[in-house]
């Protein structure tokens, strides 16, 4: 809970931004999960419908059962929700304030940097790319998925299902 409350308040630009720190806190600092468990949960949370911050629910469950999941979910949503609620009021009151523009412009680069930091954290946790290993198939999947999503209008859920089928068949054929 003490891990997720500050992260909730800092998840500017959506849940992707805090993936790096969720990995760092739960695997490295707290030792709640192994890198493999973290990667599996990341995979599940990306494949499931709904906001990807629900990875918090999975981690909470792993650590202390059903109520762990409930507490982690509340911890990740309630603080940010209160901020949004309060800020919506202020936002309308100060519609023309130059501070609004400065805040919007100032938050964007931090959010962008965090998104890419999250990518690195998962690559490392999944052993796709770290100091010792380079998993070419994994790397090809990452780049191929990104290219498909960037250049075509394929649905992310269709894509992730296709990749799941591909890896399932590769495993069946004994390649991975």
């Amino acid at each position: 809970m003490f891990v997720f409350v500050p992260l909730s308040l800092l998840s500017f630009g959506g849940g992707q931004a805090i993936v790096a720190d969720i990995q760092y806190q739960t695997v490295t600092v707290q030792g709640w999960l192994t890198n493999q468990e973290f990667t599996d949960m990341y995979a599940i949370s990306r494949a499931a419908p709904g906001p990807s911050t629900l990875i918090a629910a999975l981690i909470g469950w792993q650590v202390s059962g059903f109520w762990g999941a409930v507490v982690a979910t509340l911890a990740i949503y309630i603080p940010s929700s209160i901020v949004v609620y309060a800020a919506s009021h202020l936002w309308h009151k100060h519609a023309d304030s130059p501070w609004r523009l400065a805040i919007e412009r100032g938050l964007a680069p931090v959010a962008l940097g965090l998104i890419f930091a999250g990518i690195v954290a998962v690559l490392r946790a999944a052993h796709i790319l770290d100091a010792n290993t380079v998993d070419l198939l994994g790397l090809a999947t990452v780049l191929g998925s990104a290219a498909l999503l960037y250049f075509t209008k394929i649905s992310p859920y269709l894509l992730i299902s296709l990749v799941a089928v591909l890896y399932g068949s590769l495993q069946y054929a004994g390649v991975v």
């Binding site: 500050p6 308040l9 800092l10 500017f12 630009g13 992707q16 790096a20 720190d21 490295t28 990667t39 990341y42 995979a43 599940i44 990306r46 494949a47 499931a48 419908p49 709904g50 906001p51 999975l58 469950w61 999941a69 979910t73 949503y77 603080p79 940010s80 929700s81 949004v84 609620y85 919506s88 936002w91 130059p98 523009l101 805040i103 412009r105 100032g106 938050l107 964007a108 680069p109 931090v110 962008l112 940097g113 965090l114 998104i115 890419f116 930091a117 990518i119 999944a126 796709i128 999947t141 990452v142 191929g144 998925s145 990104a146 290219a147 999503l149 992310p156 799941a164 890896y167 495993q171």
Partner: protein, 172 residues
């Protein structure tokens, strides 16, 4: 009704669903109001679709609306993910499932990468924001510093710089 919106918008691109339900079908808000909500949802911390639902609910029916909309958004997804987690625990030793999960994680990273690139290409070509984005990425991503202190220092700095640059641009 809000729970209904939450349920129908869950799954797939929830923002687009919410737009269709709230603006096009039910006409609860106009385009302008919705776009304002979208900006707030993106700028502030929290999961974007949840924030947006919160904003929409609040506009339509105040506190109660906001609470119900947020619950409607999170609850179905919460139940689904716990069910998936249950399956994972029962079958995590099967090699095929292991392979599939690795593939899904890689593809999930690809999704995030595509989003990151989209945001990056729309990014202003100015030294200061690019530098801040790079510092954030290197400290949190490569050096693995804890995110909270990094962000607490960088956000006020970045906002202040944006404020200062804007003033200088106007020649005040």
């Amino acid at each position: 009704m809000f729970l209904n919106i939450g349920l129908t918008s869950f799954g797939g691109s929830s923002m687009a669903w919410l737009y269709r339900q709230v603006v096009e079908r039910r006409r609860l808000m106009d385009d302008q109001q919705f776009m304002t909500g979208l900006t707030i949802a993106q700028v502030l911390p929290g999961a974007n679709p949840v924030n947006l639902a919160l904003y929409v609910g609040m506009q339509i029916r105040g506190k109660v609306g906001a609470t119900l909309a947020a619950i409607g958004m999170v609850l179905p997804a919460f139940i689904v993910i716990l069910l998936l987690g249950l399956l994972y625990r029962a079958y995590s030793d099967i090699p095929m499932l292991r392979a599939i999960l690795v593939g899904m994680a890689a593809s999930g990273v690809g999704t995030t990468l595509a989003m990151g690139i989209t945001v990056a290409t729309r990014f202003p070509r100015q030294a200061v924001p690019i530098l801040i984005a790079l510092i954030t990425f290197v400290t949190v991503g490569i050096l693995r510093w804890s995110m909270v202190p990094v962000v607490i220092v960088l956000i006020p700095l970045s906002v202040a710089l944006a404020w200062w640059l804007e003033r200088r641009r106007k020649g005040v």
